[in-house]
Symmetry: D2
Subunit: 441 residues, 4 copies
C-alpha cells in the first residue's frame, strides 16, 4: 500500500498549481467581478472573457492541456492535443490534478478540463466514429468549440431513465428528434456548437436498449434554447444551464453515437470517471473554502480574540479537516478501483449499467465506490463551505468571496448525475447482495 502519487502525477499537479498561482489567481477575481458587474448592468456576460482565451493558449503551450485524457483511450490525441508526455493519465493520477483545478472556478476552463466538455469528449473518444471524432472531437480538444449534454427533462423524475419522454426516431437515413431537455450545461456560451442528445428510439425494447444518443449541432433548425436556468440565483456564466426544446429536429443517422438503442452503455461509461472528476474538484473547492475560512478566523477578532479561538470554531475547523481528508481518500480509492478494471483489460466491459456490469464481472466494489463518493463528497463540501461562510459573517454570502457560488455548485452536485438517494440505493443494493441467500462476503 502506497499513498504517494506517481512521479508524473506529482509533477503535473505541481505544475498545474504553479500555473494557477502565477497565471490564474492574479486575474481570477477581476474576471469574476466583471461577470457580476455585467449581470447587474444587464450586459452580455456569456461571451467568455478574452482573458480566458489567453490563459488557455498559455496552458496549452505549457503542456497543461486536456490532462483529463484517459490513458487507455488517449491514443494519438494526447500527443496531438497537448497532453504533456504525449499520453493520457489514469484516474488515480489525474485525481490530484482535478483537485487542484477545482479550487478555482476558472481553472477547469483554462486547462480544457471542465464539465461537461470532458465527458462529451470522452464519449467521442470511446464511442465516436472516425468521422464524428474528426468533426467534433478535434475542435473540442483544441478548445475551439464547446458542447452540451441533453439528458434530463423538466416534466419527469429523470433519475429513472424509463421516465424519459424525448424521442429520437429513425426515419430513413435521418433521425428525427423531439422533446424538451433542461440542465443542459454550457448552452449559454456562444462557443457551444454541438449537443449530445439522448432520447427514446424504441419504447418496446428492453429497459437498457430503448435510448439513443445523437450528435445535434446547436444551429440545426428546430433546436431552441428556451431559457437559461438559475441554480439558487446563479447562472454559472459563461456556461449556463439551458432549457432546450427540440421540435422535429432532423439530423443524419450517422450522427448517432455507437448505434440506436445504445445510449445506456454510453451514459454509464461517461458517468463513472466523470463522477470521480466532479468529486475531486469538489474536494479542491472544499480545501479552498477551508483555507479562506481559517484565514478569516485568524484575522477577524471579536470579544478580544480571533474568531478561531472563540467557542466551537476550532473544533469545527478540525472536523472540516477530518472530513476533507477522509473524502479525498475515498475518491482516490474509487479512482484506483476504476483503474484496476481498466488495467486488467476489462475496458470493453465498461459502458454497461451497473447491474449488467456486475453480471459481466466488473467489480461491484468499483460500482459501489463511485456511488459512495457521489453521496459523500458533495455533502462534505457543503458542510465545509457552509462553515467557511459562517466564519465570514455576512460577507460570506456576497460575491466578494467565492464561497456562496461554491456552495451552490456543491449543492447542485447532490442532484447532478443522480441524486444522493439513487446512489445510496446502488450502494445498499450491492451491500445487501453480499448476504442474500445467506451468502458470505
Amino acid at each position: 500500500m502506497d499513498f504517494a502519487p506517481s512521479p508524473r502525477s506529482a509533477e503535473l499537479t505541481e505544475r498545474v498549481r504553479t500555473f494557477m498561482r502565477d497565471e490564474i489567481a492574479p486575474v481570477e477575481p477581476a474576471v469574476h467581478q466583471e461577470i457580476v458587474r455585467r449581470r447587474e448592468a444587464g450586459e452580455d456576460r456569456w461571451t467568455p472573457s478574452p482573458v480566458i482565451g489567453e490563459l488557455k493558449a498559455r496552458a496549452r503551450a505549457a503542456g497543461l492541456w486536456n490532462l483529463f485524457l484517459p490513458v487507455e483511450h488517449a491514443g494519438r490525441y494526447a500527443a496531438d492535443f497537448g497532453t504533456d508526455g504525449g499520453e493520457g493519465l489514469s484516474n488515480v493520477d489525474y485525481a490530484p490534478i482535478a483537485e487542484a483545478m477545482g479550487s478555482s472556478m476558472l481553472a477547469p476552463l483554462v486547462f480544457n478540463c471542465n464539465a461537461p466538455d470532458t465527458g462529451n469528449m470522452e464519449v467521442l473518444l470511446r464511442y465516436g466514429s472516425d468521422e464524428q471524432r474528426a468533426r467534433w472531437l478535434e475542435p473540442l480538444l483544441a478548445g475551439e468549440i464547446r458542447s452540451a449534454f441533453c439528458m434530463t427533462e423538466p416534466e419527469v423524475a429523470s433519475s429513472d431513465a424509463t421516465n424519459m419522454a424525448a424521442t429520437a426516431v429513425l426515419d430513413g437515413d435521418d433521425v428525427i428528434i423531439n422533446g424538451t431537455k433542461w440542465f443542459s450545461t454550457g448552452v449559454g456560451n456562444p462557443e457551444c456548437r454541438i449537443l449530445i442528445f439522448m432520447g427514446v428510439t424504441d419504447p418496446t425494447a428492453d429497459r437498457h436498449a430503448r435510448h439513443t444518443m445523437v450528435l445535434v449541432p446547436i444551429d440545426t433548425p428546430g433546436v431552441r434554447v428556451d431559457r437559461l436556468l438559475t441554480t439558487m440565483g446563479y447562472h454559472d456564466e459563461p456556461l449556463g444551464h439551458g432549457e432546450v426544446s427540440f421540435d422535429d429536429v432532423r439530423v443524419p443517422a450517422s450522427n448517432i453515437i455507437l448505434g440506436p438503442g445504445r445510449a445506456n452503455e454510453i451514459a454509464q461509461g461517461r458517468l463513472g470517471p466523470g463522477r470521480v472528476h466532479h468529486c475531486m474538484r469538489a474536494i479542491g473547492l472544499a480545501e479552498r473554502a477551508l483555507e479562506l475560512g481559517v484565514r478569516r478566523a485568524l484575522e477577524r477578532t471579536a470579544f478580544g480574540r480571533p474568531l478561531a479561538k472563540l467557542g466551537g470554531n476550532s473544533e469545527r475547523i478540525a472536523d472540516a479537516r477530518i472530513a476533507i481528508n477522509r473524502s479525498r481518500l475515498l475518491v482516490l480509492h474509487a479512482a484506483w478501483l476504476l483503474d484496476q478494471g481498466l488495467t486488467s483489460g476489462r475496458a470493453e466491459r465498461r459502458g454497461m449499467s451497473s447491474g449488467r456490469a456486475e453480471r459481466r464481472g466488473i467489480s461491484a466494489a468499483a460500482v459501489s465506490a463511485v456511488s459512495e463518493i457521489k453521496v459523500e463528497v458533495p455533502n462534505m463540501a457543503l458542510d465545509v463551505i457552509d462553515l467557511a461562510i459562517q466564519l465570514h459573517g455576512g460577507a460570506g454570502l456576497t460575491d466578494d468571496f467565492p464561497l456562496a457560488a461554491a456552495w451552490v455548485g456543491a449543492r447542485s452536485l447532490r442532484l447532478a448525475d443522480g441524486p444522493d438517494e439513487v446512489h445510496r440505493g446502488v450502494v445498499a443494493r450491492i451491500e445487501l447482495g453480499k448476504y442474500r441467500n445467506g451468502g458470505h462476503r
Copy 2:
C-alpha cells in the same frame, strides 16, 4: 397550560390566511417571475410592482394592516393606522399571524409587516420623540415610505459592537456622521426615505454607552448607496441589501433617538421581538416548503412508485414534520415569555443588554429563549427547505419554485441579528450561570 390561540389571534390568523389565499397567492408567481425577467433583462426591478400597492390598499381596507403593532406601545396608532380592533397584539397573539405571512415572500410587504420596517417602526414607537414620530413613523405606518437600519460594517466582525468604526459625533446642534455600513436591507427600494444609523459617539464611555442612533434621511448630502449586495446570488428585490457610505453627513441633533450613547438600549429592545417575528416567518416558510416537497413527492414517480414511497423519503418527511412542530412551540414559548415580562409592568426594563437586563430582574429565561430560537429555527428551516429542494430534483434549484430563494433567506438568518455562535454563547452563559458557585437552579 393551554395551547389554543386566543380568539382574536385565531380570527386574525384565519383572515390573513384567507386574504393570502384569495388575493396574494393568485398573483404572487407573476410578480416573482416579473422580477426574474427584469433581472435577466437588466431592467429596473427595484421599483415595487404596482400589484403590491393595490394589495396593500386592500389589506389596509380589510383591517389587516400593521398587525405587528405591540399591544403595550400601539396606542392611538393602532386605531389610526388600521390595526383591526384598534389595539396592538401581544407577541404570542401575533406569532401565528407572522407564521402565516412567512409562507409568502410578498405577504409581509402587503400587510406592512416586513423587516426591517417593523423593527424601525417599533424603535420610533418606543423611543422616538413626538416630532420624530410625526415625521417618520406616521408615513411608515401608512405604508407610504420605507426605511433601513444601518448597523453592521464590512471591515469588522460586527457581532461585537465594540468593533464598530462608524462615528456619530456631536457638533453644536448637529451630529456629524461618517463610516461605511452594509447589509442595510431596504435601501434598494426607491420608497426608502429614512435610515436609522448607529455609530460611535464616545469611544471612552462604558461599553454599553458608546453608541448613538440617528435618523438620517437617505437624501442627505454625503449619503451614498455604493452597491447592492447579493446573498448567494439573490438581491431580494424590491428591497435589496445595500452597502452605504456616510461621508461627513450632517443632520440636526434632534434626529438622535433617545439620546447620545443610548443606541445599545434601543438595539436590544428592537431585536427581541424582531427575532421572534423572523423566526415565526421562518416557520411559515418551512411549512410552505414541506407542503411543496410532499406534493412533489406524491406526484412524481420513479422506479414505479411515487418518490414519497422510495427509500428514506417518508422518514425524512416525518423528521421535517417533527422539526417544524417543535420549533414552532419553542418560538411561541419565547413569545409568551417576552409577553410575561411586558405584562408585569416591567416594560421599562426592556432596552438593556442581556447582561444588564438580567441584573435588573428581566427574566433570564426570556433572554435565553430568544437566543435559543435564533439558533434553532433558521437551522431547522434550512433542513426542511433542503429536503424539499432535493425532492424537487434540479427544479428545486431554479426560480420556478420559491425554494431556492427560501433557502437563501433562511441561510441569511443564521447571520442576521447575530450569528448562531453568539446566540449559543448567550444560552450557554445563562445555563452555566445557574450552577456557578455551586448554586442550585
Copy 3:
C-alpha cells in the same frame, strides 16, 4: 395561549420536587450502590431495598401517590388510593410531575408511578371487570404487588403485531396460553404477581381482532421466567426484563380483559398516555444529565480553564439546553392534544388503532403527536446524556454517576413501544395524507 401550568399541577410538582430533594436524594446513591455491590458479589439484588418500602409509605402519607391516575378514569380510586385532592390529573397536568420523577431512578417506584405498573393499572381501570379490578387493581394501587406486560417475542419483529406467534385459545370456560415472550419488564421482582399476556386467539379474524389480553398470575403452572435479559449490560434491578415461557398455561376465561379479540383496542389505549409519561420522564432524565454535565464542566479544569470554557463545550451545552426545551414543549403539546380528545367526551373513541382512531374522528394531530415525541425525545435525551458522559471523562461510563444507566434507559426507549422507524412511518402517513388526491390541509 398560556404556557403556565395549572395551580394544582404547579403545586403538586413542587411538592414532588421537595419530597425528592428531602427524602429520596439523600438515600438514592446508597440504594443504587447497594444494588451494584450485590451485583458484583453475586447476591440477590431483586428484592427491593427496604428503603423503598419506607419511602413509599411516606409518599403515600404525603398524598403524593398514584399521581398518574387519569382524571377521566380515576373515579373513587383517586380518593381511596391516596391521590392528593381525590381526583386524577389530565395528561398536561401530570406531565411536569412525570418530568420531575424522571430525574431519579427511584422516584417513579416511590410514588407508585413507574412503568409498566402504571400502564397495567390503566388497562384495568379502563377495561377491567369489577372482579378483575378488585383482585388486581386495588393491590397494585396500594403498592402491595407489581405487574408485567407480556407482548413482544424473541423470534419475530414484534413491531408488526401480525407476526405474533403466542396463542390464547378458548377452551370451554378456560383459556389456554402458549408461547414465549420477552422484555417483560418487572418479572425479576419478587413482588411481581400478575402478568398481562397478549396472544393470538383467532388467526383468521381481521388484523385488529385477532389478539386477546389475559390476566395470568405469575404462579400459574406452566409459567416460567427463563432468564432476565440485560440491556447493554444493565438488568434494571429491582425490576428486570424477563424472557417468560408459557407452556399450556390454563386460566379461567374470566381473566380475559374486555373480551376475546380485543387486545388491539386495549394496547392502543394503553400506549398513548404511556408514551407521554415515558417521554416526560426522559426529559427529566436529560435535565438531570445536563445539570451533572454543567456542574462537572465548571468544577474540572484542564489546560488552565474549566472544561466549560474549553473548545466547543459551551456551544454543546447551549445546544443541549435548546434541545431539552423544544422537546419538553413538544411533549406538553402532545399531552394537551390527548386531553383535548378526552375532555370533549370522546373518551369512548380511545382504544382504537391509529388508523381506526382517525377514521372514527380522533384527532390525527394527537396520533401524530404521540409518534413525534416517541421519535424526538429519546434521541434528544441520548444526545444530552452522551454530552454529560463526555464531560465527565471516563467517570461518566462508570456507575459512580447515574449517566451510563440513564443513557441505556433512553436507548431502550428508541425500541420499547415501537422503534423510531415505525413511529416515523405513522407521522409520515398522516403528513402525506393531508395532500393525497391533491387535497388541501
Copy 4:
C-alpha cells in the same frame, strides 16, 4: 498510489481470517455466554477460559503470534516469539490484520495482540533496559503473563497531564510511589503481573520533564486493586478496568523506564501506533456490526417485507458502508504516514510530545492524522453499531448478540487515550498553524 496491501500483509490477513473462522468463531459464543452466566451467578469470571489458552497455543504454533511487533524494533523477538517470517510489520501492513482481529472480542487475546499488553510490550521494546526486557517483556511476548498501564486518575481531568497527582519520588536506590490510578485495564485478570505506573517526580521541572514511568510488580506491598470499574454496565472480563491505589510502594530505581522525568516521551511513542491499532480494530468491529445488521434486516420481516426494504433502512445501510470505507482509508493513511517517518530513519524522534515532535521535524501531517482517526473512527463505529442494534430490535440490546458490548467498547474509545475534544484541538492547532502570520501552506 497503490491501495493493494503488500503480499505479506495480504497473506497474513488471510491466514488470520481463516484461523478466526475455523478456530475462534466456533467457540467464541460459548466463551462469551459462560462469562455472562458466571456474572449472573456471582462466580469468578476473571480467570480466563481454558479455551483461550488452547487457542493461544494453536495461534502461536501457526505463526500468527505477536503480529503487532513493529518492524523497526522487533529485532530478535520476532524470530524468538513466533511472528511469522521472523520480522515485524509496518503499521500499514499490520492494519488489515488488526481490523480482522477487531471483529471478535476474543481474537486479540488469542493472537497476543490485545491492548494494553501490546502498548506495554512496545514500551519495553523501545525504551526498556536489557534487564527489564528479560524479566518482563519476554514472558509477555510468550503470553505467560499480562500487564496494565496506570496513568489516569479519578480526581482530576487526566487529559491534561499537568493535573496528575500521583508521585514517583526517588529515595536512594529506590523509587517510592503514591497515588490512585483508574481505568487500569487488565488488572482484573489473575495473569496480570506487572504494572507500568506514571507519576510526578519533579513538579518544578518543565511540563514535559516532570513525570516518570516505573515498572511495578502487582504483588509489591502497598499496591491494591480497590475495585473493578464498569463501563456502561460491562466489566470487559477477563481483563477488567481497575481502580488501583499505591500506598508508599517501594521498588528499585532500576525499575524506572528510560530515566526519571522521561515518561512524556514514552507516552507519546506508545500512543501513536496504539491509536492506529485501536482504530483498526474498531473498523473491524463496525464491519462485523454492519454484517450482523444487514443479515438481520434481510431475515426479519414486518408489514410483509424484510426490514431491509422498509423506510430508510437501506439508505442507512448505504451510509454505514460509506462511513466504514472512508474511515478505513483514513486509518490506513495515518498508518502509512507513521511509517514514512519511521522508514526515513527518524525513529529516534518519536517519543516526543506532538509540539516537540513538530519542532524537531516529525511530520505534522502524521501527528494530525493520528488525532483525526482518534476522532473519526470511534464515532463512526458507534453510528454503525447503533444502526445494527436498531435493526435487531430489543435483541440488539441483550447479550445474545455482541452489539451492545461492541457499542460500549467503541464508546469508551471516545475517552480512552484522550477525549475527542482534545484530539480536535490537536488537529485544529496544526490546521491553524498553516496560516498563522499570513503564511502559506
